[in-house]
């Protein structure tokens, strides 16, 4: 290669390198607004939309007591609640022989172990939480009332268990009573117990095919308001029957039978619910939420088209003014907003997703305006202009708080709250909207 070619190549490389350098750019200049900034920059506007909520109303009967995800156990005066359930029947006779002899022998129950999950076992607030188990008539159903079981609860309980004492055992097992702590989740105040019932405590009745109806009264140093797990969430109380088989007066271990029957028979609940003495909640001109059966309020949002189409919403806060309590409890509760798939009034289907909004937790009646951040929902309504701009507002019992969301249960509290509706001109619900109007680009 000649020197001339080398020089030529070097020139081409230099030009190519400079062209590559041209790809990089940093146009950032120091900012001093408005003198050295573009005209019509971003502007943030706050607006109180006092008439954004319209045609709001309340409807009752969404989640009944027997459909609730938890069974409320409360001894707070005026709002007492007692979980009740009845277990499935079990086989009460087993074949003794595998051959042609079809003779069966009756079972003889020697003990029963009940697995039960205690939710919201707030030991710091209650101290010495005790659960007293009462045997109830097996005919309990959705029509059973608090007053109807007064006689049954007035008797002697089958057993009483001190949950706090049991949970405090280092071995998590009471060798005297045979009770065991299966799981202890102190973060969520949740305790799973296996309680042993022996002899007459079992309440076994062969005539009822082993069906057992139980009711619970929760007591403590302070009136507790807790909950037990229900069938709806897979945490229903299950009875495990331990038995022998009577073969002509001789008690045989079931696992020694030729058919190798299990040594215990599970009996999960066929029905569970709770009965309570809280007064029924009536609907009025206010918005009402909470209670059992649960009450929801339907809020319809009228977002001005100019704001919906031509702004970017950066914060949307729903403001609700409390009008008092229909039922007061000591529960920690919060308001939840869920958007609707279609606006069909009381029977509107909700959208099942994580786009929900919640108020901060509170107890009783909030002393100030309740504010719910709904920015995500408003942004969604901007993006999908066909979406229904209506929500259900409900009152949930606080289950737990993580870094992002509150979680809770509808019909998990007897508390019922009233909020001023749009029919109250002075305290009607409103929306505080913070948004950035569309920038008019290109105008110097």
């Amino acid at each position: 290669m000649s020197g001339r070619d080398l020089r030529r190549g070097a020139v081409v490389l230099a030009v190519g390198g400079l062209a590559a350098l041209a790809c990089f750019e940093n146009p950032t200049s120091p900012a001093q607004c408005p003198t050295f900034c573009p005209v019509g920059g971003l502007e943030t506007v706050e607006s109180l939309l006092s008439t954004a909520i319209e045609r709001d109303s309340s409807f009752a009967g969404y989640v009944q007591a027997h459909q609730a995800p938890v069974l409320i156990a409360s001894s707070v005066p005026g709002v007492q609640s007692r979980p009740i359930w009845v277990s499935l029947p079990i086989d009460t006779r087993f074949r003794i022989d595998t051959g042609t002899d079809t003779t069966t022998g009756p079972i003889v129950v020697d003990s029963m172990k009940l697995t039960v999950t205690v939710l919201r076992a707030d030991t710091a607030a209650v101290h010495n939480l005790r659960l007293s188990f009462y045997q109830l008539p097996v005919g309990i159903d959705t029509a059973t009332t608090f007053a109807g079981l007064a006689t049954a609860f007035a008797g002697t309980p089958l057993r009483t268990v001190n949950v706090d004492s049991l949970a405090a055992l280092s071995s998590r097992r009471d060798t005297v009573t045979g009770d065991t702590v299966l799981a202890l989740d102190s973060a969520h105040n949740r305790v799973a117990l296996r309680l042993k019932f022996t002899g007459s405590q079992t309440g076994f009745s062969a005539a009822d095919s082993g069906k057992l109806a139980l009711g619970v009264i929760a007591t403590g140093d302070n009136p507790p308001s807790i909950a037990l797990g229900s069938v709806e969430t897979g945490l229903g109380a299950t009875a495990w029957w331990f038995y022998r088989v009577d073969s002509a007066g001789k008690l045989i271990r079931p696992d020694s039978l030729p058919l190798k029957a299990p040594d215990s028979l599970p009996a999960p609940p066929s029905f569970d619910s709770f009965v309570f003495d809280a007064p029924p909640v009536t609907l009025d001109s206010n918005l009402t939420v909470g209670g059992v059966p649960s009450i929801r309020s339907l809020l319809r949002f009228n977002l001005p088209r100019g704001l919906r189409d031509s702004t970017q919403i950066i914060r949307a806060t729903l403001q609700l003014v409390p009008a008092g309590a229909a039922v007061t409890t000591t529960d920690s509760v919060f308001l939840r907003v869920k958007r609707l798939l279609a606006d069909l009034g009381a029977k509107s289907p909700v959208v099942v997703d994580t786009l929900v909004a919640s108020s901060p937790p509170f107890a009783g009646v909030p002393s100030d305006t309740v504010r719910i951040e709904m920015t995500t929902l408003f942004r969604l309504w901007q993006a999908d202009t066909n979406a229904v701009t209506a929500v259900y507002l409900s009152l949930l019992r606080l289950d737990r708080v993580d870094s992002i969301h509150l979680s809770g249960d509808e019909a998990g509290t007897l508390a019922a709250l009233r909020l001023f509706s749009s029919r109250s001109s002075a305290f009607r619900p409103s929306v505080r909207l913070t948004y950035v109007p569309r920038v008019k680009f290109g105008a110097p």
């Binding site: 030529r8 020139v11 081409v12 030009v15 190519g16 400079l18 062209a19 590559a20 350098l21 041209a22 790809c23 990089f24 750019e25 940093n26 146009p27 950032t28 200049s29 120091p30 900012a31 001093q32 607004c33 408005p34 003198t35 050295f36 900034c37 573009p38 005209v39 920059g41 971003l42 943030t44 706050e46 970017q312 919403i313 950066i314 914060r315 806060t317 951040e373 920015t375 942004r379 505080r432 913070t434 950035v436 569309r438 920038v439 008019k440 680009f441 290109g442 105008a443 110097p444």
Partner: protein
Amino acid sequence: MTYRILPGLAALLAGAAAASLQGQDSPFGINGLGTPGRFESARARATGGAFAAFDPLSALTDASIAGLGRLTAIATGTTSYLSDDLGGASASRRASRFPLFQVGGPAWSRVVLAAGVSTYLDRTFHVEIEDTVTLAGSRQAITDNLSGDGGVTDIRVVAARRFGRLTLGAGLHLLSGSTRFQFVRNFTDTSSYGDVAQTGEVAYRGSGGSASAILTVGRQLELAGFWRIDSRLRSEENGEKVATNDLPTTYGGAIRWRPAPEAAVAASVTYRGWASAADSNAYNTTGWSAGAEFGRTVPLRVGVRGGTLPFGPGGRAPRETAFAAGTGRVFAGGRGIIDVTVERLRRTGAGLTETAWTVLFGVAVRP
């Protein structure tokens, strides 16, 4: 043959694909229509722009293309390193632009035609602002990033013809182009406030006409005069008009004296009526330049220019001064030309001092 410089031209054009056809942006233009481009080739820029009115590779005048004795394609690229000082706050920028492309050559009956694109207004900028706003009764910290990328491009078709000592030229201009804007606001309190990002693309439309004349007096002296008028600049976003701005009438004159075959000096003055283009922060501008060229094979070019800028805050037009020097080389028996220029620029106004080093490359190909 010109194949020797074709790779260089290809590399330059490749860079053009990566960068935009814009002039040198400035913070002074952010609040206005932008920063006006300069219709000068790299070799004219080396003389401060004083030779541009006579330079067939520049796009300042129409009559000058009469000097294109054969088909010629030119491209100019610039890379600028800029520093800004605003009340003690300083920042550095870098910008690469390809402000001038043109093809021209003799057509018929001594008429020379040319067509090309050049920067009319550069609207590229980016500012980052940290501030607080009052929301829900409390101060919220925010960071705004405001940027624009693009500008207005001048597409011109011109014709020129020599009539003895007088050369006349005229041209039609279409103004086109667009700017992509992106305004982003981030809140420090992300749990309460969502971020905002707004984008938009503004397209520009306009037209204009120009005329110019070059008179040769004796053997050593040339005089040039030029005039240009543009329509209003229409800005549209999504097909909707968002703004209409008057554009300036431009006129100016230049003189070139060639006392010896290998020496020439020139001076020029240009007036542009930008004051009507925007609000009170727009000003009419007057620019001047003076420069000289020595030698033929590897000439030395020097120049100085000064004047005012059309946009800037404070009620007074910002001022600019630049010194430039450069050289060039003709290859392949005149079929290829490469020019290189270095310019030092200083702009001042309203507390802002902007300085820049700019390197310009010009490539001309004559097949």
